[in-house]
Symmetry: C2
Subunit: 464 residues, 2 copies
């Protein structure tokens, strides 16, 4: 039910922007522009000083609005927020994003008092609130966008849902994802979370059909929400992967978190246990977080632990063998029947052990033949393709064939390439064909491990 209610934050038909303004550089201007640019519903700027802003009729106060807006966005000085929220409640509005800061996060009595007033009003009028002191919601499908930094590029439409306790990090990450062309469904940063919190949002994104992978940046859950988090996460993770980056892991980091968002970062070991229990994937670094997101966007579940590596560079094959082994994968020694087949199709100087080394004089045809054999075998659970394109004979024509193979065999196929423009081009082609690409053997192995662990978790719990 709570999850249904949140729909008004993400798919409103009308929105009132309290504090909309034509003044350049102001938050109320940036947000209004966002909505004008992308939101298809009705937009009501509210500001006592204007009759019109950017070509839209402006309302002097909330009472005058021609309807109760599905969503209100509030960006006015803190001391005026409680009365605005009350007026919205009177009007019948049920969802408000409060961008304004100046509440509990200031550490002042006045701020705490104002925040308590907001809590009271939201309860009295049954208004769901995101914020205060937040950047709110960026919805790539509906055009709701209260992220007020104009210097942030918007990522393409897509399927990653992001919940962030840090507004600045959310902004930077959206900008980063735009650059790396990773599609986003909805991103939310909830600031002081007097009402809607991580758990509500996790539940919402869990049911959201535009969201296939959920990513969370968490400093600390509300104290009484641990149990709900586990229960919710356990349901959601059976439907889609949930990746969490927990900040405030060390006690020194916890202290920094409490200065930052007044979050109680809590005992990290408790979080770890909860994540594990609920099938949540914990990313331990920025790189891991994004690698894992990408592998989940592109790859099917991995049904076992046996990986084959096909390479044109022996050294990189060794690096991968180490990294995969360290992550608990099995690299089977090529069985006799497969060895026979490989020997028939490869020149004698190629190495038919796993890693299968096509060597530096390979062409695309060698890749195609070998990958064809591997994809069809039941004793191969995932394939890692190393394609260093500095090799003279490699044109990259095998990549389209690889995409076809991947669909047919429904196994994870990931790739590694290292280099300059020629390798970027190979990577781009691979990505377009649904192959997740890495340049670091260790990061590849690490991301594949997350895919395997999650796959085994889901398969186990599906059976149960």
């Amino acid at each position: 039910m709570s999850s249904e209610k949140l729909l008004e934050f993400f798919q409103p038909e009308s929105v009132a922007i309290i504090g909309a303004t034509p003044k350049e550089g102001k938050v109320g201007r940036a947000i209004l522009e966002n909505f004008i640019k992308k939101f298809k519903g009705r937009i009501y700027p509210v500001n006592p000083q204007y009759d019109e802003i950017l070509g839209l009729k402006c309302y002097r106060n909330i009472k005058d609005l021609p309807e109760s807006p599905d969503l209100a966005v509030i960006a006015i000085p803190a001391q005026h927020v409680p009365s605005a929220l009350m007026e919205l409640g009177e009007k019948g509005c049920k969802a408000a994003i409060i961008i304004s800061g100046g509440f509990r996060e200031t550490g002042t009595q006045e701020g705490a008092k104002l925040e308590n007033e907001l809590v009271e009003i939201s309860k009295k009028y049954n208004i769901r609130v995101i914020g205060p002191n937040c950047i709110g919601v960026f919805d790539n499908w509906s055009g709701v966008d209260t992220f007020f930094t104009t210097k942030m590029r918007r990522p393409p439409r897509g399927y990653v849902g992001f919940i962030s306790q840090s507004g600045a990090f959310a902004t930077a990450l959206m900008d980063w994802m735009a650059y790396h062309e990773i599609g986003v469904s909805r991103a939310i940063s909830y600031g002081n979370k007097i009402d809607v919190d991580d758990v509500d949002l996790l539940e919402f994104l869990g049911e959201d059909d535009k969201t296939r992978v959920i990513l969370m940046y968490v400093e600390g859950l509300k104290e009484n929400r641990g149990k709900s988090f586990i229960e919710t996460a356990r349901k959601v993770t059976l439907k889609k992967p949930v990746i969490v980056y927990k900040a405030g892991k060390t006690s020194r980091g916890g202290r920094a978190a409490s200065s930052h968002t007044a979050a109680l970062a809590g005992d990290y070991s408790v979080y770890r246990a909860a994540f594990k229990q609920a099938g949540v994937i914990e990313a331990e670094s920025f790189d891991e977080m994004m690698d894992v997101v990408r592998i989940f966007l592109d790859q099917p579940l991995m049904r076992g632990n046996r990986v084959y590596v096909v390479t044109d560079a022996g050294g990189v094959g060794v690096m991968l063998t180490d990294a995969l082994t360290k992550n608990g994968f099995e690299l089977p020694i090529t069985p006799p029947d497969l060895k026979e087949q490989l020997k028939r199709i490869l020149p004698p100087h190629c190495i038919v052990e796993n890693p299968i080394d096509l060597t530096g004089d390979t062409d695309d045809e060698r890749y195609i033949r070998v990958l064809d054999l591997l994809a069809k075998r039941d004793d191969v659970d995932a394939i890692v393709v190393v394609a260093l394109p500095q090799v003279p004979g490699l044109k990259g024509t095998f990549i389209e064939y690889l995409a076809k193979l991947k669909k047919e065999c429904n196994k994870p196929i990931v790739a590694l390439t290292i280099g300059s423009e020629v390798s970027m081009e190979t990577a781009r082609k691979l990505r377009e064909n649904g192959i997740t690409v890495f340049e670091s053997p260790e990061r590849l192995a690490n991301a594949l491990k997350a895919l395997r662990d999650y796959s085994l978790y889901v398969i186990k719990h599906m059976v149960d």
Copy 2:
């Protein structure tokens, strides 16, 4: 002494290319072209079929050469290599790079026999040999370049020396470094290393004034060279950092290495102990390897363990606090006198604890004031600057000031930024001003740890 002799590989005045050819796509053509393009000395193509190649007089055989070449590059079929090497010996040549494959790496008796002949001849005539079965030498200062892949971009001239047991990886890494604009002095891949090996090359690069940072990719040292490696490394690491990526760490990886280069990857724990004893920095991943190279290129030694973080994004401050703490750094709680000073120069909503959070409404001036205070203090050993440029007020003008500060205080100053073009631009400016830039808090902390550990090693052994 051995190191002096190697000079002829890197600074020859004349070079003979045995197997030079005008035929497109051939190794002997690619190598000849490399030399014509960049080598300032005398070039002698040798091939019985031509009188002239690419405008150069071609010699029908080695005997006919007008002088004994300082360096010979051999790229002809394996069975002809021994006689060519002998003729070079007769001629008085003292250094040969044997590109040709077809020796011990084939696993055949014939190959092993041919390789043994090479060993005998090189001893008899006192010719130093790099190879066979290698890509040889890429020297960015002298123009010696036997890396025969035309699809590899060449990195800019610079100060990283690279020794690689894998030719393909060396090629890919040069290409990668070209893209990332990391300058290289000399790169060497030695193939079957019948003579010149990792230890000789380490000694050479240790004394080479164009090389400031040494990077090594090692699968396995020759069995009898462990002690020499430690002795040599111990000397070199007091002069410049040596970073090693050891492949074949796991027993499964060791098996892959032995298929690849017939290297005995050996017991990893023995290598680890040796690295530690000799002050060698071990990079455990591709990313770490390159991060560590970059931090050493740009940063002075770190004289203690106390790090301050200045940020415009609280969340990233928390992430960094975790990562630095995990790597054993101390993030001192801001002492009272500094707190007073910070409070005087910062608006009240900024956080003066370490991390010092300038918050999302910061401008460049705030950074300058705070960094100025930190740089001058004796109780600050390194500064980490987080500059998320999505923040509206940040123009990046503080960066030049930062460069000046870094020079004055002679402390490591590193930075973190995350995002799209706007952040790439910030990163570029930072790099140009000698600030090492990261986008991952964990990688930043990890690289800084390598700098600290190496610094403490050097300081300790200088005192001893």
